[in-house]
Each structure stands twice: as structure tokens, then as C-alpha cells.
Amino acid sequence: MRLLNSYVLSALSGAVWGFLAMIVIGVTLTLITGELAIPQVGAAVLASALGALFTHLWDGKAASAGQKYAPAVIILLALLAATFGAPFALPLSVEPLWQLLALVSFVAITFWSNRQTMADTPKGTLTRYEKEVVFLRVAKGVGFVIFTVMVALPFYVMVMTSLKSQQQLLGNPLDLSIDLSGGLSGMFRSYVELFTQFNFGTYLTVSAIVSVATVILTLLFSVPGAYAVSRLNFPGRSWMSRSVLLIYMVPAIVLVIPLYAVFSQLGLRNSLTGLLIVYPATTIPVALYMLQGYFKGLPAELEEAGLMDGLSRLGVILKITLPLSLPALASVSLYVFMIAWNEFLFAFMFLDDPDIFTLSRGVVSLNSSEVPRQHLMAGAVIATVPVLGIFLWFERFLVQGLTAGSVKG
């Protein structure tokens, strides 16, 4: 372990940054331009390790401006030399602007990361503490990159695939660039076709109606229930608040066969009424659980004062409790909306009639060999955008809702 002094450590961390930056930038370049840019990993590792070593060597208060920025030049030159002037295995004539941008970002990223990694680290032998600080900096950087790519890549692919045509997708699966040659109408053709030929306008409306109605019904049922559990004394109260938790552990798949059988007999199966009975029933326990937790946190004195001043119970709930719990109501509503909007199983089992498909059900119907991929992805985007938009807009509430009630999922 003594060998692991600051110089070796800086070179090692530089190698990691070079490796990571090259792969990410190379793949990004490939996906943006559609040209196969094979990341020159070896050269990148070498260049960045050298850069890191010199960054560390020339670090210090006495360092001149030249010494400070020289490592960037070293990285650039080393990379170009080790790859014979083709850092992405592409001739420079292909997409020169993008290549230049990629090269600049590689140098900038590795240079900056190298500086950050070894900042405030003394030269020579290091203590365990100092080593771990460096190690954690590298690990965090790697973690950020991996998580961001892991989360963002599927969504990027979803959106970009939906903007392509069949020939483009089959011709070059690597090309996920924005193609402006066909104009806006060419880009959004899948969407236009979904709305004009595949009935997606109706699906969107149905989904919106079902989700909003589910939210309203859920609140109508769960607010009085939650109030009773949190404020009123009655035999079986603690049993009640405990069993609510159990109810939403019941898997939907166990309910689906009997509900299918009974709803078929009652003629409720292929109808929105059927969905509007099942959805609230599955969300009410969660909502009740979340709300009662919030109601319990409100000061009971306020309500007692209201009762003393001659308000009825209903008046107390409407005029005191509910206004005070608006944040909780918002997060419960958003959470329930999300569940109803994203629900798949019951919509899939119950709905046969394309006139009352929800979006989830509609997108499933696109999943056949006759419908091209970009339509499927466009359907996925249409289903995702409203719920993500609402989520981003009300993130604070939704995060509260998620943490309070998302034992369900």
C-alpha cells in the first residue's frame, strides 16, 4: 500500500477519467451523428493519466498560469499522438464540427476532473484518510456518470426513435440524431398518425377522465375515513389503521380473475364504470393511510376550538382540517393520479372496445408486428409526457407523496 503514493494515485484516477470520458463521449458522438465512432480507450487512458500526473506535479501555490493549464495541452497532444490524429477512429473529414466538439469536451472534462480529484491532496506518501478522499471523489464521479446514463439513455432512445421513419431505423440503428431534412411534419409523422389513424386523441381523453375521476372518488372516500381513524375514538380504531396497510399488500393479480368473472356477468367488464369502481378501491387504502398520518400531525386544539365555537363536525373538517392539509391533499391527489394514469393490468384485462381504451391499453395494442416501432415509441412518449410533466411541475408534492405512501408500487 505504500506504493500508492499521490503520484500513482493521480495517474490511476486520471486513467479512470480517461476511460469513462472516452466511452461516454464516443458513444454520444455515435448516437448524435450516426457515424460509428469507436472510442480509443487505450489512448484516452494514457493521455488522461499523463495529464493527471502533471496536474498533480505542477499543483501548488507557486504554480504559474502556464503550469496550471499545460496538462490540458498534454492531454490533447497525447491523445492525438496515440491515435494518429483520429481520436474517435473517424477520418477528420467526417462530421468535423462534432468531432472537434467531442475532442474539446474530452480534454475539458478529463482536465477538470483531474484537478478536482487531486485538489488539496499533498504530494508524496498519503495517509489513509487522504487516499480515501481521493478514492471517494473518483467513485462519486463514476457513479454520477453511470446513473445519469443509465436513467437518461432509455428516455433518449424513446424520444428519438419516435421521431424516425421505418427506413432510417432499419438502415442505421445507431443514428439517433435529430433529422431536420424532412421538416417538422416529417419528424412528427408518427405522432400525427397516432392521433389521426390510431385514435390516440380518444385514449388521451379517456385516460385523463379516468385518472381525474379516480382522484376525486378516492378523496371523497378517504378523507372522511382518514379523519375518523385519526381523530375519533371508536372500538377497533387501532385495528383499522393497521389493517389498511395490509389491504394494499393484496396483489392485483389475485383479484383479477374473480373481478373478471363477476364484472363479465354484471356487464361492467368492458366499461369505464368498471374501471372507476376498481381503481378507487385499490387507491383508497393508500390515500387513507397517507392522510391519516397527516391529520394526526395537525394540532387537535384548532379543531376543538372550532367545535367549541359551534361548528359541526362537518364544518370542522371543511373549514379547519382540509384547508390545513392542502399540501397532503395535493400529494395524495398527485400520487393517486399517477397510479391511475400508469395502471396497466385492469385496463388490459377489462377493456376490449377501442373507443374506451386508456393510454396504457392503447399503447399495448400498438405492440404488434404490423405496427412499426416508431409508432410504439411515439405512443410511449404520449403516455409518459403528461405524467412526467405533472411530476416535474409539482415535484415537491409528489416526492412527499411518494415517500409517505409509496410502500405501494
Binding site: V157, F221, A228, A252, V254, V381, L388
Partner: protein, 443 residues
């Protein structure tokens, strides 16, 4: 004895005014409060009874019944009415013919029959034994119609001018049928055949094994990813809010959208990932991530079968649900006071030591609760695997099996029997969860 009790009772009543004693039993106020509480809870209770608890019981019932998807449509008496003969003028003979059929192939209908009104201008002269006429109302009782049974009833009579003036006299009124069909769902036949078929099939045990692999590794994967993500975002920096929002995307998006995106992304022929890996020389040929049951891996001289499709599905599960554990863990980490870290820093604890000896023990509570909850929810999960692989290539879990047996193979009874197995396993875990949740505050 009774004297003492009397005395005690008396002393309470006399002393009741001066020494305040808590009232025994429920007073009128309390009773009213309880009544109010029950009224407020009643709607919730009723809908849960109807949609959750009722079906739960019904599922057990169905699992003991020989019921198939087709049996859901109750057998009905179908009637086809026509007129025969070519009457030219008033007084000519004509016949009215009813063809009666049982819609079901195997179930009989008891007390079957129908009523109808004779076509206008038709006078019946000869009736079959089964039928009786009252004015122009005709009623035919057929007794029990066996499955597949067909019968023909002919009524002969004469016609008047009014009849001749109509183009289709039989259309003037539609026969109304009746009958008591015995539904398999409600009758008294029970069978253990469903359970026998579930447990006897070779597939069942492999399905059970896959379910546990999926549940355990999916849950653990989501927890570990969530723990890492929470570590990353536990410091404040520019753009932290944006990253936190981004990290929640997989969970907030509809399952249908992200599942199909993964399918498109990992497609062996036109998928971006396979194209990247093959063209950049990492893979020799494209890999069918969701379609290939196993690949042979050679590692350190030994070769073993790696369950590819199952692992991909598990990766999806971890990817989709890490945001949830991430949120919980982050919230818990931010509630830990910083004093303890400052003290550790003074004592010279390294960052890793701080994580191992301070953060992790503090997180153990939330981690174990999360593990149990996620375990139950992953076990219950149906959508993800169904959309990704449809349960093929060695990824069929119990929940997918419920659908497969009940709907794909149209045998509701067997499907319900699998659902019973799901429920029983689940109750075991729920008991465990209740044990834990009494110890762990907060959830």
C-alpha cells in the same frame, strides 16, 4: 360475597359525586362519536369489501371449481322464428315455426321456454303440446334443455288480409325466452383438480424458483442502486434538484412506456444497444436479451449457464424501482444529525469508516423495512415481466402464471389456484412485515 359487592357498589355510587371516578363503559358522547366514526368509514369499508375482500374470497371459491373462460357466459335459450307456407289470400293456411336451441354445448337449462305474440292476422289452429295460447299471447314450456339440444315447434293456422299486407309478419314481435341455467360458478360442484394440475406440472417448481430469484435479486438490486444514488445526492451542489428529478423518472413513467422502450433498446436486430456493442467490437454477434433463456459463460476455466432473460428482467426491475429506495434512504440520511459526523471527523475516522460505522447502522432500519416492502411488491409484480417477455425464456413468475393459466389457456380455475398459491406465500411475508414494522418506527 354479594353483601361485600353490594357495599362496594353503594360506596361507589355515594362517593361518585365527590371523588371523580372514570366513567365505566361508553357514555352517550362516546357512543355518538363511535357512530360518527363508523358512518365516515362505512363507504371505504364497503368498497374495499366489494372489490378487495370479496374477490379475495371468491378467488378461493373459483380455485375449487372446474370453470373455464367460456363458462362465464351463462347458457341461454336461443330462438329463431319464421313463417312457412305461401298464403295467397285471406283464409289460406300457413305455419309458424320456432326453432329453439341451447347456446351452451354442455350445460343444460332447466324450466326453459319462451313467450311471444302471434303475428298480426295469424289465427292459430293447431298447437304443439308444449304451447298454450291466451288471446294472441303464446307461451311454450320446454322443460329441461340439454346442452347442444335443438327443438322445432310448429304452429299451424290461417291468415287474414292484415297478415298478407305485411312483408315480414314474424318480425312484428320478438320471442322472449326464459330458463334457469345452472352456472358452474355458483353451483355445488367442487374439485381439487385445479390444485392437482398446479402442483403436478413440472413447470410449477421452476416457476416458483424463478419467482424467488426475481424477487430477491430484483429487490436487492433496487435497494443497492438506491443506496448508491442516495450517497451521490447527499451532498449539496449545483444541479442537485435536476438530478434528483431525473433519477425519479423510471419510477414515475408508465410501466408500459419504459418496458417497451427497453424492449426496443435491447432488440437483437434493430436495437441501439446491440448495434453499439457489435459495431464497437465488444460483442461478436447481437444478443437477444429478452428472448434467450441462458448463455454459457466461461469463467476461470469453469463454464456455467447464465440465465440471460431472467437477469435482464431483474435488471429492469432494479432500474425501475431504485428511485423509490433512493428517496427513502435519502430522506433518512438527511435526518441524521451532522454532529455525529463532526465528532467522528475529530477522532480521525476516514470517510469509509464514517459510512460503515455511522451511516450504515443508522440506515439499517429503513433498509430492512424497505427490503420487506419491496420484496412483497416485487413478488406481486405482474406488468413488468408480462410486457418485457410475456413470461417466456425462463422468466415466468407466479403472477404471470396466473394470467397464463387463467386467460391464455382459458382455465380460470387453475389460474385461481395459482393465485391462491401467490396469496398464501404473500401472507407469510406480510406476517413477517408486521413483526418488523412494530419494531421499526416511521412506516
Amino acid at each position: 360475597m354479594s353483601a361485600i359487592a353490594d357495599q362496594a357498589g353503594k360506596s361507589v355510587t355515594t362517593a361518585g359525586e365527590s371523588i371523580s371516578q372514570p366513567p365505566k363503559g361508553a357514555g352517550p358522547m362516546q357512543k355518538r362519536e363511535a357512530r360518527l366514526a363508523y358512518t365516515m368509514l362505512a363507504p371505504t369499508f364497503l368498497i374495499i369489501l366489494a372489490i378487495v375482500l370479496g374477490p379475495l374470497v371468491a378467488n378461493f371459491w373459483i380455485s375449487f371449481k372446474p370453470v373455464e373462460l367460456g363458462d362465464l357466459r351463462a347458457p341461454k335459450v336461443l330462438i329463431n322464428e319464421r313463417v312457412k307456407g305461401k298464403p295467397k289470400q285471406a283464409g289460406d293456411p300457413a305455419t309458424l315455426e320456432y326453432r329453439v336451441r341451447n347456446s351452451s354445448q354442455k350445460n343444460s337449462i332447466a324450466n326453459a321456454g319462451f313467450t311471444d305474440i302471434l303475428p298480426p292476422g295469424f289465427t292459430a289452429q293447431q298447437l304443439p303440446d308444449a304451447c298454450s295460447l291466451k288471446g294472441i299471447d303464446i307461451q311454450c314450456d320446454l322443460g329441461t334443455l340439454e346442452g347442444k339440444a335443438r327443438e322445432k315447434l310448429v304452429i299451424s293456422g290461417t291468415v287474414s288480409d292484415e297478415y298478407l299486407g305485411l312483408r315480414k309478419p314474424e318480425k312484428a314481435s320478438k320471442p322472449v325466452s326464459y330458463g334457469d341455467a345452472d352456472s358452474v360458478l355458483t353451483n355445488g360442484t367442487f374439485t381439487l383438480e385445479n390444485f392437482r394440475r398446479v402442483f403436478d406440472s413440472d413447470e410449477f417448481w421452476s416457476v416458483l424458483r424463478v419467482t424467488f430469484y426475481y424477487t430477491i435479486f430484483g429487490t436487492a438490486g433496487a435497494l443497492v442502486l438506491g443506496l448508491f444514488a442516495a450517497q451521490l445526492l447527499n451532498t449539496s451542489f449545483k444541479g442537485r434538484g435536476i438530478l434528483r428529478g431525473l433519477f425519479l423518472f423510471p419510477y414515475v413513467s408508465p410501466v408500459i412506456a419504459v418496458a417497451f422502450t427497453w424492449v426496443v433498446l435491447l432488440d437483437p436486430f434493430s436495437g441501439t444497444l446491440n448495434a453499439l456493442l457489435t459495431k464497437m467490437g465488444v460483442l461478436a454477434e447481437p444478443v437477444n436479451f429478452f428472448g434467450q433463456r441462458a448463455v454459457d459463460l466461461h469463467l476461470f476455466g469453469t463454464s456455467f449457464e447464465f440465465p440471460l432473460a431472467l437477469s435482464t428482467v431483474i435488471a429492469f426491475e432494479a432500474w425501475r424501482y431504485f428511485p423509490l429506495s433512493f428517496l427513502f434512504i435519502l430522506a433518512r440520511m438527511q435526518s441524521v444529525s451532522t454532529d455525529i459526523y463532526e465528532a467522528a471527523e475529530m477522532d480521525g475516522a476516514t470517510p469509509m469508516q464514517q459510512f460503515w460505522y455511522i451511516s450504515l447502522p443508522q440506515l439499517m432500519g429503513i433498509l430492512s423495512v424497505l427490503f420487506l416492502l419491496r420484496f412483497i411488491w416485487t413478488f406481486n409484480k405482474f406488468d413488468d415481466i408480462f410486457l418485457l417477455t410475456g413470461g417466456n425464456a425462463g422468466t415466468r413468475t407466479l403472477t404471470v402464471d396466473v394470467y397464463e393459466q387463467g386467460f391464455a389457456l382459458s382455465n380460470l380455475g387453475v389460474g385461481a389456484a395459482v393465485a391462491v398459491v401467490v396469496f398464501v406465500v404473500l401472507v407469510t411475508f406480510a406476517t413477517l412485515f408486521i413483526r418488523f414494522s412494530t419494531k421499526e418506527e416511521g412506516l
